[in-house]
């Protein structure tokens, strides 16, 4: 008897001895079967539905300015969502991701406006700060073995307190402004907060960041050994360690990736608005996780996709702006979000059962 796994329960066990028939059998797996195991397929269908829906019922949604608006909304969320997705595939959460976007913006703004540093230098120091916090999150989670949910909840609260406390201490208010007068604001703004034009309609450069980072994340996840390790440390950490995957290093790097994304978004925000509120970013961490889950990431780790998370963010942006264009009360957005999340989780669950089904 040869060892085979019929994916569709066919009864032809006996004639599978030769290897030459192998490719024919692969071809026999239907296209739907192939697609359904892609983590992002549910999100892609959802995005299509949302897109068509608002395109039909509103005037502005499909105009260039409409597209520019919801792409912009989706972009900063998407940059975070893909990093959070990588971390989730690696089996961990980062609740401090939302407030990190404010912390990095505050560090940049305080260094530039109060300490008088060049914006580029302030950005660099802010990046160092972000990577240090991310590294600390990862180190603490790995060192203590505590759930990252709790550890990063701690960092979340601590950063929130620091943001408010330090800002009030230095400026006497709960916001930092005056970025426009700082040295290097214009040139740094080119990188993070400029616009580019398509058909006369300006688009935010953050959209390009979003696309670029999605491509990089997807590439790393699927095409590199580090990506292989991300899936492994999320799917079965002990097994991964047993075959020589550097578990601790992989996870710490993932936490640092989330912090890096927080720095990118923080930089985009501070250079676009030229001021930052100390209480920004709170509550966003759940949106990132929702986008990642809608995009096909399993909460338990080991499965998911960066492209899916980007699409999850796109659904978010389209729905949030679509509801505005449709002139509905924005309360409906939460209802939509809840339904979206529940259906995504149900689909994910079914997929995982399919993947983990054991035949004896």
């Amino acid at each position: 008897m040869s060892v085979t796994t019929p994916t569709s329960g066919s009864g032809q066990e006996s004639d599978r001895a030769t290897t030459s028939t192998k490719d024919e059998r692969v071809a026999s797996v239907s296209l739907t079967n192939r697609l359904i195991v892609r983590p992002e397929i549910g999100a892609a269908l959802g995005a299509l539905v949302v897109f068509l829906f608002f395109s039909v019922i509103t005037e502005q949604f499909l105009t260039l300015s409409g597209v520019a608006t919801w792409l912009d909304d989706a972009s900063t969320l998407g940059i975070m969502a893909i990093a959070v997705a990588l971390l989730m595939i690696g089996g961990e959460f980062d609740l401090s991701a939302g407030v990190m976007t404010a912390s990095t913006a505050l560090v940049t703004a305080l260094l530039a406006t109060q300490a008088g540093l060049n914006v580029w230098l302030a950005l660099l120091l802010s990046l160092v700060f972000a990577l240090a916090v991310g590294g600390f999150n990862g180190w603490l989670v790995m060192r203590t073995g505590l759930p990252s949910f709790i550890v990063t909840l701690g960092t979340f609260l601590a950063l929130q307190g620091l943001n408010l406390g330090v800002t009030r201490l230095v400026t006497g208010t709960v916001q930092v402004s005056g970025m426009r007068a700082t040295e290097g604001y214009e040139s740094a703004g080119m990188l993070f907060a400029s616009t580019f034009s398509i058909g006369g309609q300006p688009f935010r450069v953050s959209v390009l960041w979003w696309i670029l980072l999605t491509v990089i994340a997807a590439f790393v996840l699927v095409k590199t050994r580090f990506g292989n390790w991300i899936f492994a440390v999320g799917g079965a950490p002990t097994s991964a360690r047993a075959v020589g995957v550097p578990l601790v290093r992989t996870k710490i790097l993932l936490f640092m990736t989330t912090a890096f994304a927080g720095w990118v978004v923080g930089s985009i925000n501070i250079l676009r608005f030229a001021s930052v509120q100390a209480n920004q970013g709170i509550g966003l961490e759940l949106q990132f996780i929702i986008a990642a889950v809608v995009g096909g990431c399993l909460l338990t780790g080991g499965f998911g996709s960066a492209v899916g998370a980007a699409i999850g963010a796109l659904i978010f942006g389209m729905a949030r702006q679509g509801i505005v264009y449709a002139q509905w009360n924005s309360d409906w957005f939460m209802l939509f979000l809840g339904i979206m999340l529940l259906s995504a989780v149900l689909v994910n669950n079914a997929l995982r059962r399919r993947a983990e089904r054991v035949r004896r």
Binding site: V3, A232, G235, A355, E356
Partner: protein
């Protein structure tokens, strides 16, 4: 006769004041299967953990290819060529067969990229060489049966150049048919010139593939036989407790008649 791959002489291990293993001697030769049999707590795990480098012996001698060794980590044992397939198999269920096959030793392209094509082709070939016919190496390992997963783990060890393959209860959780399949791959690994250590408590699984049988009981050797020296019936009798079982039978008979 050539030097055995592994030879242990009067090897022993204590944890604090608990004697986990004492005076155990056996050998593993290339192209042979050494079966380690024993009930729970007999010392099987301690013995293989010494061989696999997880623990170190504190009595006796452990020779690998004729030279005394003392592995300080599983990695060291693996580098020397002793691969261990544990019961949990060290596979990631949600990952594809080929990604699992190469996990931790991924084929690289341009220094950092994963060479997917090479990975898939090598996996397919390595599995085919072991006589394992998987329809698709892209399917998640979780969709395989327990026996198939075991086979993938064995093929992985063989592919990465193991000289000695230690299998920890590979048939324990399997049905009759699947156990038969796994035993076939054990034989396959043996025929490819590996020395195999098969840990089991089922003499019916050990006898057909084994060349040498080490019976353990409460950390001490109960017997060490080559296949020519023992029959399946005798092996089973000794495993089941032999004389003790007969005494128990008498006792039970006494209960029934009274």
């Amino acid at each position: 006769m050539s030097t055995p791959l592994i030879e242990v002489r009067n090897i022993g291990k204590t944890y604090g004041n608990v004697i986990a293993l004492r005076d155990v001697s056996t050998e593993v030769r290339a192209g042979e299967v050494t079966c380690v049999l024993g009930d729970n707590g007999a010392g099987k795990s301690t013995l293989i953990k010494i061989l696999a480098g997880v623990h170190q012996h504190d009595q006796g001698e452990f020779l690998f290819e004729g030279k005394p060794v003392r592995f300080s980590s599983p990695r060291e044992a693996l580098d020397a060529g002793i691969a261990t397939v544990y019961q949990d198999l060290a596979v990631v269920p949600l990952m594809s067969v080929w990604r699992n096959f190469f996990l931790g030793a991924e084929p690289k392209k341009f220094g950092f990229m994963l060479d997917g094509r090479k990975g898939r082709e090598t996996t397919k070939r390595a599995l085919a060489e072991m006589g394992i016919d998987l329809r698709d190496v892209e399917q998640p390992v979780g969709t395989l049966s327990g026996g198939e997963r075991q086979c993938v783990a064995i093929a992985r060890a063989v592919h990465f150049g193991a000289k000695v393959l230690i299998l920890d209860e590979p048939t324990a959780a399997l049905g009759v048919k699947q156990a038969g399949v796994v035993l076939r791959y054990v034989a396959q690994a043996r025929d490819r010139g590996l020395g195999v250590v098969l840990i089991t408590h089922n003499p019916h699984h050990a006898y057909p593939v084994g060349d040498r049988f080490l019976l353990l009981k409460r950390g001490a050797p109960l017997g060490n036989y080559t296949k020519a020296e023992i029959t399946l019936a005798e092996l089973t009798r000794q495993m089941a407790g032999g004389a003790e079982l007969e005494a128990l039978e008498h006792e039970l008979r006494g209960v029934q008649t009274s």
